[in-house]
Amino acid sequence: MIVSFEVNGEQVTARMTHPGSLLDMLRDDLGLPGSKSACEQGECGSCSVILDGELVCSCLVMAADVEGSSIITVEGVAPRDALHPVQDALLDAGAVQCGFCTPGIVVAAVDLFANNPSPSVSEIKEALAGNICRCTGYGAILRALEGVARGDDS
């Protein structure tokens, strides 16, 4: 079946041949490999996207179910050639180790700040509870996001 939807502000059409995930469609068919594929069961958060305004794991969204929807991936959180303040803050804090979890962390944090511009530390931790960093680099990630919450210039 043919699925039409919006990704990062652009209207796209993709042909679906299987009941696969939105994650696979983004990566394999739409040339958007920023969302990472790891656990494929919603445990790790590395495939996080914003679907119709809500943060979800794209591995748990059936691709055929996004007909008419609007999706923001990590590629679309900031205008081309610019960075979102969350991305700037993560870079400045050295909060990227192997980098595999980073896209998911970025999308989850962007969603957090969109809904709550000055979250507390515990609110930041709770918002990131679904994102696993296998390097265990949570300290630097939290410091970076606490800076964003305080409105620090990066």
Binding site: P19, Q41, G42, C59, M62, D65, A108
Partner: protein, 262 residues
């Protein structure tokens, strides 16, 4: 895959072999791991009626995020322990009961307050008590021509109700034991438990014993804990052991009762 926008349209598309898809947090794991390959899927995300929440009737399509914010206390507490923010945005209460995992975090509340599940088909509506809806591990009384339309809570909820969950971490965890204890203004206590049997259960002997105590003493609480532990039938699997779950059920129920007594 079809994307109905109304209940009538959704029901018309249902038949044997058609798989209803709500939040996808259970079904897509099965798809991703190659355990199922549904050809005919009916996406329920756009059915507006399923998201309606009027008083004690919670539409099946209401997600955990909303229940976390707007639900009755113990159900909101349960909602907050479901997965992660991502999972709570996608996952719905209807999907939770439809999957009928023994560990479903919504189930102990439904058992403890004697909720019912509203099933709708082209032929009409039937309201099934939770105890008849859950029939086994991942098995329910839903027929293939029916959709789960809503969860119906009783008109009056017990004055006090508390949810608790034992697991290996705070977030993103499948329950080792989950439990809701309620106590009403007549001092009647109910105990709903999950992950300690193929379906959610009630600890009836413990309920009866403690409901007879006007002001429970230490000895009463100890006996209550013992009866809860005795009344469950857990298994040993990759998440925990039969012994630990049995012990945990008693401890958890007692702590929740103590909260209800405060």
């Amino acid at each position: 895959m079809v994307h109905p926008t109304s209940m009538d349209e959704a029901l018309a598309g249902l038949s044997e072999g058609v798989v209803p898809l709500a939040g996808g947090t259970d079904l897509m794991v099965e798809v991703n791991f190659g355990h199922t390959h549904p050809e005919n899927v009916i996406g329920l995300r756009r059915v507006a009626e399923l998201k309606e929440w009027e008083g004690v009737r919670i539409g099946a399509g209401v997600n955990w995020r909303r229940i976390e914010r707007e639900g009755p206390k113990a159900l909101a507490q349960a909602a907050r322990t479901v997965g992660s923010p991502q999972i709570r945005n996608a996952g719905t209460i209807g999907g939770n009961v439809g999957t009928a995992s023994p560990a479903g975090d919504g189930h102990p509340f439904l058992a403890a307050v004697d909720a019912s599940i509203e099933l709708v088909s082209v032929g009409g509506t039937r309201v099934v008590p939770w105890s008849e809806f859950f029939v086994g591990v991942k098995k329910t009384a839903r027929r293939s021509d029916e959709l789960i339309a809503a969860i119906r809570l009783p008109d009056v909820l017990p004055e006090r109700h508390e949810f608790g969950k034992i697991g290996v971490r705070n977030a993103m965890v499948i329950a080792t034991v989950n439990c809701v204890v309620t106590r009403d203004d007549q001092r009647r206590v109910t105990v709903g438990l999950g992950s300690v049997g193929p379906t959610p259960i009630r600890a009836r002997d413990a309920e009866e014993m403690i409901s007879a105590a006007t002001m429970p003493t230490e000895a009463d609480l100890a006996e209550f804990q013992r009866l809860v532990a005795e009344g469950v039938s857990p298994i040993t699997d990759h998440r925990s052991t039969e012994e630990y779950r049995r012990h945990g059920a008693g401890v958890l129920a007692r702590r929740l009762l103590e909260r209800c007594l405060r």
